[in-house]
């Protein structure tokens, strides 16, 4: 029973974090996911809650993530129906951008050993794709999942700021970059800030995920 208090706490912490962000004028550093998670971590430390209890309590939310991810097909289908040269350009950008991201991350990660290298190479695709790839390459599923989440949070919090510094004004290009590098967490941020561009971000996330699932296992098997 007490485990389900963590379900209520997660919902309440997120609602409060969303309100806090609105009070702060929507500042990107006040990311509701990070604020809510920070508050919950403090709660877990204070109450000495075990991982098993927390996972059991939040299972309904974890189960809902599958259908919520599948719901991203709705803006994606709209985007694909519009079609055109721009859509193809964005798909190509996501493929190349995803490759470059994985190569840079994997190359630097390899300095920490094979498991870190594999986790880093897969970190920009969503967990449902990254973990099977890492598993097939004898990587650590836990380290991969942690890296995927850390990358998504970093992209959601700092991505807009980085793109501002790079003077990227085109909202569709920004959405594609966020979906490619910060997967579903970045896409959720795009859908929150510029909902009309959600289709571009979902397409980039999916194209990068599928492309990575095709080429990365081959590259990892050659390297090993």
């Amino acid at each position: 029973m007490t485990a389900y208090l963590w379900l209520l706490s997660t919902v309440a912490a997120t609602v409060l974090a969303v309100r806090l962000r609105a009070r702060l004028g929507g500042h990107p550093a006040a990311n509701p996911v990070v604020l809510a998670a920070g508050a919950l971590v403090v709660g877990l430390l204070v109450t000495h809650t075990s991982q098993a209890d927390f996972v059991r309590g939040t299972r309904p939310l974890r189960l809902l993530l599958g259908p919520a991810t599948v719901a991203l097909a709705v803006p994606l289908a709209r985007q694909l129906r519009r079609g055109g040269r721009r859509t193809r350009l964005e798909a190509g950008a996501a493929t190349v951008g995803g490759f470059v991201t994985a190569a840079v991350a994997g190359g630097l990660g390899a300095l920490g050993g094979r498991q870190v290298g594999v986790a880093m190479a897969t970190k920009s695709v969503t967990t449902a794709i990254a973990v099977p790839i890492a598993g097939a390459a004898d990587g650590s599923a836990a380290l991969t999942a942690a890296s995927v989440v850390a990358t998504g949070v970093l992209g959601a919090v700092c991505g807009g700021w980085v793109l501002d510094r790079m003077r990227v004004r085109d909202v569709r290009a920004r959405a594609v970059a966020m979906g490619t590098t910060a997967h579903a967490i970045g896409t959720a941020e795009v859908l929150r800030t510029t909902p009309d561009q959600g289709g571009s971000s979902v397409q980039a996330m999916l194209v990068n995920g599928i492309a990575t699932a095709l080429w990365l296992p081959v590259v990892l098997s050659v390297l090993s």
Partner: protein
Amino acid sequence: MSMRQEPIVPPDPSRRQRASNAAVGLVLIAGATAAGYLVAAVLPLALGGPPLGVVVLTVVLLAWPGLHRFVDLPAAALIAVLGMLFVPYVVDLRFRWDLVSAHWPVLVAAILTSTVVGLGVTATLARPRRSGPA
């Protein structure tokens, strides 16, 4: 003694229709999710159930665009809470802290560098080219 009769207001048909459409849409999304997990279990692909479910539902919506009237509302509701659904996974980092802290310098360098490079490369390539003077 007379009893005042309240007028019987029929339910708003458009509201009922919307609720009914949303229920059908939820079933469609749940069906696509289940289909994604099924394909992932049957085929030796390095893709999990949800991404395959996205592919399934996208194909269905492209083939039958009229289904948008069923899925639009439940999809918008699910997408609205997508950020919240990641919160437990971010909290899970606390339980993997030993693993993360053991490699933190390499992890920080790799994640920061690749994110900045990836954002720059992707955004540059995704921008439409300006055509030169004719």
